[in-house]
């Protein structure tokens, strides 16, 4: 459903993504791991349509060219991004924000908008998923939220938006183990045959809870290794040293001891 080919992203003259290839099938969960600064967030933003990058290559969702679309068009096409750093919007009620978001994509798809009362039911269900209390909806979007609350709010939004493709950028960072468990079980509950996911993480810890179908290692703007979830375990033991210590262009060719081929 997602096809990415030789995707490049640069800021000014600085290349950040140097040709990423990735194919994701229906209902698959792919993890992208990599050291800090390797371009993981940039990859997510390139898919979501953030301004400010020179983009090259191909990215299609269900056959439609994502790179041609504005961020809101991509959202309507079913792309959801869970932000590494969710943005605060003071004074905007969380519930109102959620409903506006849902109705914006529904409107763009030519579907009917959801009224306030019906939406409340949708929101309630979503909140149970991430174990949030009602007062959460009455607060301003992310304003004064703890790190964990912000991340839970991202998953809540995902649950409401029901995306085709969810790109979760370091949803696990800064969470204690309980929060991690809640988020992971929320994400697992949202897995389904019609929804694919890219789970970006720095640590393999999250992948104990969210079992990915595939794991990719992104280093210095390129995917240098792909495999199943055991690749994550290898990284847990060995870190990224195997990749970053070598000339990166050569990295994919080098055999990895203990890693699946």
């Amino acid at each position: 459903m997602l096809h990415v080919e030789n995707l490049t992203a640069a800021i000014g003259d600085k290349p950040i993504l140097k040709g990423v290839d990735l194919d994701i099938g229906e209902g698959e969960v792919h993890a992208i791991m990599g050291p800090n600064g390797s371009g993981k967030s940039t990859f997510a933003h390139a898919l979501a349509g953030r301004d400010g990058y020179e983009i090259g290559g191909v990215a299609t969702l269900d056959g439609s060219d994502l790179l041609e679309m504005t961020p809101e068009q991509r959202a309507a096409a079913g792309v959801f991004m869970g932000f590494q750093y969710p943005v605060e919007i003071p004074g905007v009620n969380n519930m109102y924000f959620l409903r506006t978001a849902l109705n914006s994509v529904r409107k763009a798809r030519g579907e009917t908008e959801v009224g306030a009362r019906d939406f409340l039911a949708v929101a309630k269900q979503a909140m149970e998923l991430v174990e949030m209390k009602q007062d959460f909806l009455d607060r301003a979007v992310n304003a004064g939220f703890s790190g964990g609350e912000k991340k839970r709010n991202e998953i809540l939004q995902m649950a409401v938006m029901e995306p085709r493709l969810a790109v979760l950028d370091e949803t696990d960072s800064g969470l204690d183990i309980d929060a991690l468990r809640i988020i992971a079980s929320g994400v697992n509950a949202l897995r389904g045959p019609d929804r694919s996911m890219i789970v970006i993480t720095h640590y393999q810890r999250l992948l104990d809870y969210i079992k990915p179908d595939f794991v990719h290692v992104l280093v210095n703007g390129k995917i240098v290794q792909s495999g199943d979830h055991t690749l994550a375990l290898h990284l847990e033991d060995h870190g990224y040293a195997d990749f970053v210590n070598h000339d990166l262009d050569d990295a994919p060719e080098k055999p990895l001891t203990g890693a699946p081929s």
Binding site: E72, A75, V87, G91, T100
Partner: protein, 480 residues
């Protein structure tokens, strides 16, 4: 011409066609201002001698005064002799029912969320509709009368309750207070009068809706609200004007008197025509609003100022009695070439008096927005407290925001707190909203409305909705 422009023009046309047809021909005095004009206005309104004297005294004072130039406003010189000071339907329309009200006025009310149609009237809002400074209708008079509340046009009050008017007129804003107040005192045409007797909680919201319609005329309304001991009233004011290429002068005066333990809540949604992108046309809005709060009384001003080419306005509270409370909540938007110099004055005289000021300034396009405030604590004001918060939001590179808070403290026991911030709508905020499917304009309007939340929360429900809508409309085209 844009669709919206055409619509506005069509509406304007319609008002002339249906509202003021031949026998309701508009009666306009020749341009210019001298003693004769002041006498003419007073005579047209059949005013008692004392009021004529009062006007003449104000006129004399005005002639000796200079236009203020301290505001951060860049204004084309106003030729006071080129303005006509009297415009009114020759004959006041006699309305059998609310449904006889000019359809355009009704449309405008509908858009403000305050329908004038008899079947659709809001059950809890009484409306005084003022077109070109003349009251055309007041709803719910009978219901209010049962509670002892007087709510009528200023002209009627002069005829029917001369003692009340005489006692309070100019008691809060003296004729010599400032240039525009003096001018208003000399030539004011109409406005609203409210009187809430002792211990009465006004059973509904009172609302005045101002509409400027005529061309080349100045607009000078006078509003007086008197709340006796232990009474309570919430008052709403809405303003709109059609699109015109020339600037029009609007110089109103509002006086509030809150006696012991009384409470007056005064809310304004001002949407006078702001002029176009090049600064052509728009209302020059010079308004003096002030309240006097006696012991344990509370006066609360809430304003949403989205219109006018120039806004010069400082709704103030004299905290006269002990434990009096003054509040000022303001959203002022300047886009296109609009300039707003607005804020408040809180004058602490009584002991244990408290004031709070929340000001939200939004600048877009080439707009300039200045918060100008004065917190003055007199020697007598033991233990006075003030909290001021001024937030500015900039949308774009060509606009400006300025914060000028004056603090004068003569009593060392005063506690004064001031916070100020300036921010821009972040790219990251817009992107976040767009990633959630919202268009850039929707996102912008949501973020800006969020910025104004604390002020909108103070508005009665219908007005809050209208204010949000207005803000969004005013910001259209400010994105990108």
């Amino acid at each position: 011409m844009s669709e919206a422009t055409r619509e506005i023009e069509e509406l304007t046309e319609a008002s002339y066609e249906f509202g003021f047809s031949t026998d309701l021909d508009t009666d306009v005095a020749p341009p210019g201002l001298d003693e004769e004009i002041v006498r003419l206005i007073s005579a047209k309104k059949d005013e008692p001698e004392w009021l004529l004297e009062w006007r003449l005294k104000a006129f004399e004072a005005w002639q000796a005064m200079e236009e203020p130039d301290w505001a951060k406003l860049d204004i084309m010189p106003i030729d006071y002799q080129a303005i006509s000071y009297w415009a009114a339907p020759k004959q006041k329309p006699v309305l059998d029912s609310m449904d006889d009200v000019d359809p355009e006025i009704r449309d405008m009310f509908d858009k403000l969320g305050i329908p004038l149609h008899e079947q659709k009237m809001l059950s809890n809002v009484a409306v005084d509709a003022i077109v070109d400074s003349v009251s055309v209708t007041t709803t719910f008079k009978a219901t209010l009368a049962e509670a002892g509340v007087i709510f009528c046009s200023f002209s009627e009050a002069v005829q029917d309750y001369p003692e009340l008017v005489r006692e309070h007129l100019g008691s809060v804003v003296p004729v010599r207070d400032n240039y525009f107040a003096a001018l208003n005192s000399a030539v004011f045409s109409d406005g609203s009068f409210c009187y809430i007797p002792k211990g009465v909680r006004c059973p509904m919201e009172l609302s005045t809706y101002f509409r400027i319609n005529s061309q080349n005329t100045g607009q000078f309304e006078r509003t007086l609200i008197v709340a006796e001991d232990d009474s309570h009233v919430s008052y709403l004011e809405g303003c709109t004007a059609p699109q015109r290429d020339e600037n029009q002068l609007h110089a109103a005066v509002v006086e509030l008197v809150a006696k012991d333990r009384a409470e007056i809540k005064y809310s304004t949604v001002q949407n006078w025509y702001p002029g176009d992108e090049n600064g052509v046309g728009g209302i020059y809005n010079f308004v003096t609003k002030r309240g006097r709060a006696h012991a344990d009384a509370k006066i609360s001003w809430t304003q949403v100022e989205t219109g006018s080419a120039i806004t010069w306005k400082y709704p103030s509270v004299i905290l006269q009695g002990d434990r009096a409370v003054g509040e000022f909540y303001s959203v002022a938007l300047s886009s296109k070439r609009q300039q707003a110099d607005t804020g408040t004055k809180m004058i602490h005289i009584g002991k244990d008096t408290t004031s709070s000021i929340i000001s939200k300034g939004i600048s877009a396009g080439n707009g300039q927005n200045t918060y100008r405030g004065l917190v003055k604590v007199m020697r007598s004001a033991e233990n006075a407290r003030n909290y001021t918060q001024c937030d500015s939001l900039l949308l774009g590179k060509d606009c400006g925001a300025h914060t000028i808070p004056y603090i004068e403290v003569k009593n060392p026991g005063a506690q004064i707190e001031h916070e100020a911030s300036t921010s821009t709508v972040g790219e990251d905020q817009l992107y976040y909203c767009r990633q959630r499917g919202m268009t850039e304009e929707d996102a912008m309007s949501m973020i800006v409305n969020g910025f104004c939340r604390e002020v909108f929360n103070e508005l009665p429900m219908e007005f809050a909705v209208e204010a949000q809508r207005l803000l969004s409309v005013s910001l259209e085209g400010s994105v990108g």
